[in-house]
């Protein structure tokens, strides 16, 4: 059993991965569109600022991160 192994082989490109999986171009394109397409499932980077609140959602169509943080802030302000 190897406790850890050092990998030196190059990291394949997306095209190479598609070729290795023997996927058709159409199937590859369909998956790319699903993964990278716009909508609620897009990726976002969340950062916390000094006050501990979340900010900086980037490229996320839903904008859930910023909204929820703002809602929490306003709730806290209303409570106090």
């Amino acid at each position: 059993m190897g406790r850890s192994v050092y990998i030196t082989t190059p990291i394949p490109t997306l095209e190479e991965v598609g070729k290795r999986l023997k996927m058709s171009k159409a199937r590859q394109q369909r998956l790319i569109e699903i993964v990278r397409g716009s909508g609620s499932g897009q990726f976002s980077v969340r950062n916390r600022d000094a006050s501990g609140s979340l900010n900086g959602s980037s490229g996320n169509g839903s904008g859930a991160t910023g909204d929820s943080a703002r809602r929490k802030k306003s709730k806290r302000a209303a409570a106090s």
Binding site: S4, I7, T9, I11, L14, L21, R36, F43, S51
Partner: protein
């Protein structure tokens, strides 16, 4: 004659059930991000030749991961434990003993010291304990497979890719017309989608080293240089 060994291929020997869905996706994302090629027994038909094909698959992989998280009795009657994963681990261990330069194997578990009880023949080997969490799988995969610093994806990058792909899982399954994520076609689709998502995430992390990772409840926070740490 054994098949040619693929230097990047990893035989992923994990349970295929809905309760393991998150970790299944985590394994695919992590290995793909490390530039490795996950391979599984999904798609190998049953019958007489199945065992030969499984053995050929193990022989063609440079590495293998055996997740022994499911050693308990299956609820579906008749109640039996699953022996497939242990059996495949046995095949991999034998193959590695005969060809130590061609195969390395890793045992993953969710609980500490359980393997010592369930499979005491493995005494003296340290399993990678992932605690049954996605983050745990990512950390242990990174411990097992080491890349040079320049090419090594960070755990936050992995988590971000995982979350993005997790949200798209239903869309990917539906687009393929599959009923479950544990189908050969979906497995391939997920490997490719993980790679596509990786490119996307890497663009979000443009060569800025991540200094601090802090988990609060189920969220992970990424702190970049020049930004204050969590208070």
């Amino acid at each position: 004659m054994p098949p040619r060994v693929s230097p990047d291929a990893v035989f992923v020997n994990i349970p295929y059930d809905e309760r393991f869905r998150r970790l299944y996706l985590a394994y695919i994302v992590d290995l793909t991000m490390l530039g490795l090629e996950p391979r599984a027994t999904l798609g190998i038909p049953g019958g007489e030749r199945r065992l030969d094909r499984i053995l050929a698959l193990i022989q063609s992989c440079r590495y293998s991961i055996h997740d022994l998280s499911r050693v308990q009795l299956d609820r579906t009657p008749p109640c039996t434990p699953r022996f497939n994963m242990l059996f495949e681990l046995g095949l991999a261990v034998t193959w590695a003993k005969l060809n130590p330069r061609q195969h390395s194997w890793f045992v993953f578990e969710s609980r500490v010291r359980r393997v010592q009880k369930s499979l005491s023949d493995l005494d003296g080997t340290d399993p990678n304990i992932h605690d049954g969490t996605v983050e745990g799988v990512m950390q242990e995969i990174c411990n097992a497979f080491v890349r040079s610093r320049a090419r090594r994806p960070s755990v936050p990058e992995m988590i971000q890719t995982y979350r993005g792909l997790s949200r798209k899982l239903n869309a990917i399954t539906a687009a393929a017309g599959a009923k479950s994520v544990f189908e050969a076609r979906i497995f391939e689709d997920l490997c490719f989608a993980a790679k596509a998502a990786t490119s996307r995430v890497r663009a979000d992390f443009p060569r800025i080293p991540l200094r601090q990772i802090t988990s609060r409840s189920r969220r992970t926070t990424f702190t970049r240089p020049g930004q204050d740490a969590l208070q």
